[in-house]
Amino acid sequence: MESLQIPPVDLRLLTPLLIVVGWAGALLLIDVFFVPDGRKKITGYLAIAGLAVAGLAGIPLWNLSGSTFSGMLVLDRYSLALTWIFLIAGALSIAVALDYLPRHAIEQGEYYPLIMFAVGGMILMAQSADLITLFLGIELLSITLYILTGFAYPRVASEEAGMKYLVLGAFAAGFFVYGIALIFGATGATSLAGIAAYLGRQPFAPQEETLFLAGASLVLIGFSFKIALVPFHMWTPDVYEGSPTPVAAFMSVGTKGAALAALLRVTLALEEAQTFWLPILAVLAAATMILGNLGALGQSNLKRMLAYSSIGHAGYILLGIMVAAERGAEAFLFYILAYTLTNLGAFGVLIALEQRGEAAWSIDDFAGLYQRRPLLAVAMALFMFSLAGVPPTAGFMGKFFIFTAAYAGGLGWLVLIGVLTSAIAAYYYLRVVVKMFMQEPVREVRPELTRGLNTEILIAGVATLILGLLPTPIVLLVERSLVALGG
């Protein structure tokens, strides 16, 4: 029996990922054996602690870059910055769930480790430089989300949402894998570097690369589904509405962020194929911006409105990806950060208004919120302004960076669509603000603010303001983070 050689592996590069996944596994056991029923919050706090440790463990890696596992995983500042954003999103989603789950009688300790596994999948997506690893990351994230969507199973809507998401997601996964197989058949490689090398051996001629292009298109469909780009967005409003609100919050920033981040890396790596890739992305972006925002116009259910608005935002972010080689990647990172914080904050307010057995998602329930809970109303107004892109909020700076980068990259017509749709979007965001401040309450809604929720809304609100008022330090950080990407 010949001895097996284990390939040289640099586990340092995976520190945050290993901590998150390892701690999630350990937490599952701790939750079962040591945390008594009814005190599952302890598990939640431990999960947040684990995410924090993973974040701190990432700091010494800032000056490190490299790849391991035969080049399937890379660590650079880009992936590290994304890792931190994902950790923040995970921690905030856990914070809002601490009191939400018991209030809705769906408390199970597994919620918190599952969120951690999802964060692990997202980090894997940000770090992977290989299509197979990328696929596994997507699936780890997706399967966790299918479970979390159906987590509130006493509610039929949650079960239905979980089922819908599972069936459609399985389809999308099929497209993605088929695409990878075709690309492998055409190029003989699954690593992004290998594919780029194959494409770079001669000038790119689309008519000679049919197999590769078919594969790339299928992969793009898989991506579009995860990001919820029009026309692959149909599942989004239903799934967001049906799933428990903390999960919807996590999904709206997590899945999108991770899938977009992976798409950016793929786009950058396959520079040769850009003549084929970019026009498709442009059409997708335009359709997403227009239909996402138009769809949000007619919604009177705030949860659905936020779902449509998240579709629209994906369109803006896509602009950053298309010009990633120029300053787009920086704008992309800044926008993701701003959008994550703002959206989590907005969902936090929604959770505060939601009570057991009765969902206060109708826009009328926000009427007169200012008189009852002035601070909550101000926070919600801040998030709405930020989503709409009104200065001085994070959303404004994000849109500003994205649009300038896209304009400089020669995407003038898309910028025009972006600005116009932002104006449309302002209508439905500001409608909420008007309701809150200028109208009398229609019916009694008793917002419940608990410690975890308060902290989450506070963090999100303050961060939204700081990003808007003093973006310079973050921008500098973001710029540095892209040195290693070669962007």
Binding site: Q5, I6, V9, F69, S70, M72, E110, I143, I147
Partner: protein, 222 residues
């Protein structure tokens, strides 16, 4: 040795053909699905006989493990649960016509292959330079712990998560558990609904309402 192989092949082939015949002749759909599993197993054994261990394992894993379960689930979710009393859609001359068309289509695919294949000719030696064919399971296992170590591990995490999810969603506290009928109970219930027992209520009193039986949500609407 060759005779033993021949005998084993004969047995397996008989199993496959027999099971396949049963699939299309039994009336109960679930039984048909079970016969299909037997058929898949036979094909797996055939692969093993041809020294294609990897293919055999995959056949069992994918077809027996996954696809037949999927078929069973599809039957459970779409048909009346037991499939009892379900007739085949076509009968009489239409059945024979369907069989003839299927046989014809299959023949179109298989006959030219059988005829044009030159039997009993050893395969030509591969030209030098062709890569070694995959040795099979051993090679795959080595790749899993060497080249694809990471993917192997992540797949493990993924399956763990899926298992946890199944438990989280399907396992309910005893007190909250919904009453799900066993197949036998369901049979009984359906029989009772189809032939209501004679009402023994004394005259003058209204007949008792049908006893409320706890019915799972997955129960078929009658």
């Amino acid at each position: 040795m060759a005779t033993v192989i021949q005998i084993i092949f004969g047995l397996i082939a008989a199993l496959i053909v027999g099971a396949a015949v049963m699939v299309v002749t039994v009336r109960n759909v679930i039984h048909a699905a079970l016969w299909l599993i037997a058929c898949f197993f036979g094909v797996g054994a055939l692969y093993l006989l041809l020294e294609a261990e990897f293919l055999a394992v995959v056949q069992v894993l994918v077809y027996v493990g996954a696809i037949s379960i999927l078929i069973l689930f599809a039957i459970m979710l779409t048909r009346q649960v037991t499939g009892e009393g379900v007739r085949q859609l076509v009968g009489g001359w239409r059945l024979w016509l369907t069989a003839a068309i299927s046989a014809l289509l299959f023949a179109v695919a298989i006959v030219p292959t059988v005829i044009s294949h030159s039997w009993n000719v050893p395969a030509p030696p591969a030209p030098p330079g062709t890569p070694e064919p995959l040795a099979g399971v051993a090679e795959l296992g080595r790749a899993f712990v060497y080249e694809f170590l990471l993917q192997f591990q992540v797949a493990g995490v993924l399956l763990t998560v899926a298992l946890i999810g199944a438990i989280v969603i399907a396992f309910e506290e005893r007190a909250r558990r919904r009453r799900v009928l066993t197949l036998a109970e369901e049979h009984e219930l359906r029989k009772r609904l189809a032939h209501p027992p004679p009402v023994e209520a004394p005259a003058g009193e209204p007949a008792p309402a049908p006893r409320a039986t706890p019915i799972s949500e997955g129960e078929v609407q009658q």
